[in-house]
């Protein structure tokens, strides 16, 4: 089962002819992702990594059925690329690009409300259902098929956690990097709802960080409605207030946005929080 993505998901790549787009098209294909086409305006008719390129999604859709799109388009053109995918009614849109303006994301998010479109990102590593398919830039070899769902605001920190899960024998159902921006397509709570209904997922690992209140919102939801064990890790205990720590969304603007406040709130609601990312498998063992 897993969530959002499996080996049958038909994926297109927007920005397929770029350096990152073409490289990761190759990597995704090698992992088993079912890539049916690519889009780069002005490059229609070319072939990249054996994949046919079209000028627009509409043109592509005349030839192929599409379930998902992954966007590698540079910031300057990314907003139009996202709108194009949204207007084409693609059900899963994954935005890898870092640097999408917040107010454009705000409009896009308000537009898709109630439309049955899921956006992951921007500024994210994508998602992977081990042994089936990956959309994005995660290194496939560290993942293992299994029953732990992972949702994370970070990229390499996700790899760190997954690496220790895999080494400890805990495979993953689906792993999603939601992205480091202030406004993102899917927040913790949105994806927890998917994991709740997924039979394959037995427990969920949440990897949060400073800034915003998504962890607190997720905590409330878990307390009230979530039916599986959750283990969390929050990065940024040593981050100073008011400084942006790499991710655009990783900035403490109020007392409740610190790592400490988030950790306290999670623990108060009986959700275990690991002190170190490598402790997560041990805590899972005690929880499951």
């Amino acid at each position: 089962m897993a969530i959002l993505l499996n080996k049958n998901t038909r994926v297109i790549v927007q920005g397929i002819t770029g350096r990152d787009g073409s490289f990761h098209t190759r990597m995704m294909k090698a992992y088993g992702t079912n890539i049916v086409g690519g889009v780069t305006p002005g490059k229609g008719g070319e072939t990249i990594e054996g994949i046919k390129v079209y000028n627009t999604i509409n043109e592509l859709k005349n030839k192929h059925e599409v379930d998902a799109s992954v966007i590698f388009v540079p910031p300057k053109f990314s907003v139009d690329a996202i709108w194009e995918a949204v207007e084409a009614n693609i059900k899963l849109i994954v935005i890898i690009t870092e640097g999408v303006p917040v107010n454009d994301m705000l409009k896009i998010k308000n537009y898709i409300k109630g439309k049955n479109i899921t956006i992951i990102g921007p500024n994210c590593p994508g998602l992977i259902t081990p042994n089936e398919a990956k959309i994005g830039i995660m290194p496939g070899n560290i993942f293992k098929k299994g029953n732990i769902g992972v949702i994370s605001r970070s990229g390499t920190l996700t790899y760190e956690v997954v690496y220790s899960l895999t080494n400890a024998g805990y495979g993953q159902s689906t792993v999603i990097g939601v992205g480091g921006d202030p406004i993102i397509g899917s927040r913790f709570i949105d994806l927890l709802q998917h994991f709740k209904n997924d039979d394959e997922t037995e427990a969920v690992v949440l990897i949060g960080e400073i800034g915003g209140s998504d962890e607190a919102i997720a905590t409330e939801y878990i307390k009230k409605e979530f039916n599986k064990p959750v283990v969390a890790f929050i990065a940024g205990k040593t981050a100073p207030k008011g400084k942006r720590m790499g991710h655009a969304g990783a900035i403490v603007s109020g007392a409740e946005e610190t790592a400490q406040a988030k950790i306290e709130f999670l623990r108060k609601n009986k959700i275990p929080v690991a002190e170190l990312p490598q402790e997560i498998p041990e805590i899972l063992k005690n929880t499951l």
């Binding site: 303006p101 917040v102 107010n103 990229g155 915003g212 890790f233 205990k237 942006r244 655009a248 490598q278």
Partner: protein, 378 residues
């Protein structure tokens, strides 16, 4: 990116939002000259990229020329929360009848553009929220629909503004602020206080503007108000070299790929009893040049006693990082011990490169962090 008050007011002028008459001075003599040629009283306001300057003595009234010297000198000497005062804004003194708080915010929780207003102008909004939450009105605006008359009506009701002429001016200011937010990619525009003065005129007495870092590339004349003044010289160098860097107070320098892992590394250093000297994310596709620049920036900090690399290769390839370290060792004459954690994509190639230089590596983040901390203890 935060703007200075005077830069924010420059944008207000562009959007025809009324502000008091004022002039900028960059030193004491300039300031005194301006005051001499102004109608008194005037207000001298320190220009710093932080709040709380009033309490720190950074905003003062000058009623007579006798006072001017002392006031101007005291303000130019100030250090407000680590920001030295290098510029002041000198504005006409006004007779204020009412102070209002008004702002627009990209609201990451409600995912709307939120108008916030309160009759308690002049107070920090966080304080009002704590002490008198009922004084605050928040109006969520759908960015696809924009600001409508009923949003503004609710503001008038909340603030008890019934005078037609005032309503007209107020409406105009609200609409222009909203336009600024959308056209200039603002995360925040705040006027605190917005004042009603004698003769029923409304003016923006202060400005706080934060531009979305992702939006700056889309603003045509961005260079006109670009400033890096809230960054340290090292942070500016890092920014120009495509690195994310934040200086901290410890002695273990960190070079990490990925922001989340970089934060987790700092936290782990602290967990094992050490103190991180910085946050540094070398970014995704890291060419060797980035590693060299990262080392250069870190070793400028004389507190640093050890440099810790924590690399989990994904898009970043371990051999790229290793080549960067190799080149840095060759050209930089590094005296500090290097502790290197290397795992992931092309790990073997990376380890081989470093071994040929006599540099040990580990695949374990915990081992590397513990080692770096133990080296400080020695």
């Amino acid at each position: 990116m935060k703007l200075y008050e005077f830069q924010g007011k420059g944008l207000f002028a562009r959007y025809h939002i009324p502000t008091p008459k004022g002039k900028m001075a960059e030193n004491v003599n300039q300031a005194l000259d301006i005051i001499k040629n102004s109608k008194l009283p005037v207000v001298v306001k320190a220009q710093v990229l932080t709040g709380g300057r009033g309490k720190a003595g950074g905003v003062k009234l000058v009623r007579s020329l006798d006072e001017a010297n002392e006031v101007v000198n005291s303000i130019f000497g100030l250090d407000i929360k680590g920001y030295k005062v290098k510029k002041v804004l000198i504005e006409e003194g006004l007779e204020i009848k009412k102070e209002i708080y008004l702002s627009f915010l990209m609201n990451r929780n409600s995912e709307k553009i939120t108008l916030i207003t309160s009759g308690e102008g002049g107070m920090e909004i966080e304080t009002v929220a704590k002490e008198k939450p009922e004084a605050i009105l928040k109006v969520d605006i759908d960015p696809l629909l924009g600001i409508k008359s009923y949003h503004i009506t609710s503001v008038f009701d909340h603030l008890h503004i019934s005078d037609r002429e005032l309503q007209k001016q107020f409406t105009d200011i609200i609409k222009k602020m909203y336009k600024m937010v959308t056209e200039l990619y603002l995360n925040l525009v705040e006027i605190n206080p917005l004042v009603i003065i004698k003769g029923n005129r409304i003016l923006a007495l202060d400005s706080k503007v934060i531009i979305d870092d992702n939006g700056v590339g889309f603003i045509k004349d961005f260079d006109a108000f670009k400033n890096y003044d809230d960054l340290t010289p090292e942070e500016i160098t890092a920014k120009e070299n495509g690195l994310s860097f934040v200086k901290l107070n410890g002695n273990i320098g960190c070079i990490v790929n990925g922001a989340g892992l970089a934060m987790a590394t700092m936290d782990m250093i602290k967990h094992f009893g050490g103190e991180p000297a910085n946050f540094l994310d070398v970014g995704g596709s890291s060419n060797p040049e980035k590693v060299i620049n990262a080392i250069k920036i870190i070793r400028k900090d004389k507190n640093v006693k050890v440099i810790l690399f924590n690399i989990f290769g994904g898009i970043t390839r371990c051999d790229d990082i290793a080549n960067g370290i190799k080149k840095a060792v060759e050209i930089l004459d590094i005296k500090l011990p290097l502790v290197i954690r290397l795992t992931g994509t092309n790990e073997k190639e990376g380890v081989d490169i470093l071994r040929s230089l006599g540099l040990e590596t580990t695949t374990s983040m915990q081992k590397a962090v513990k080692k770096a901390v133990s080296l400080i203890g020695e």
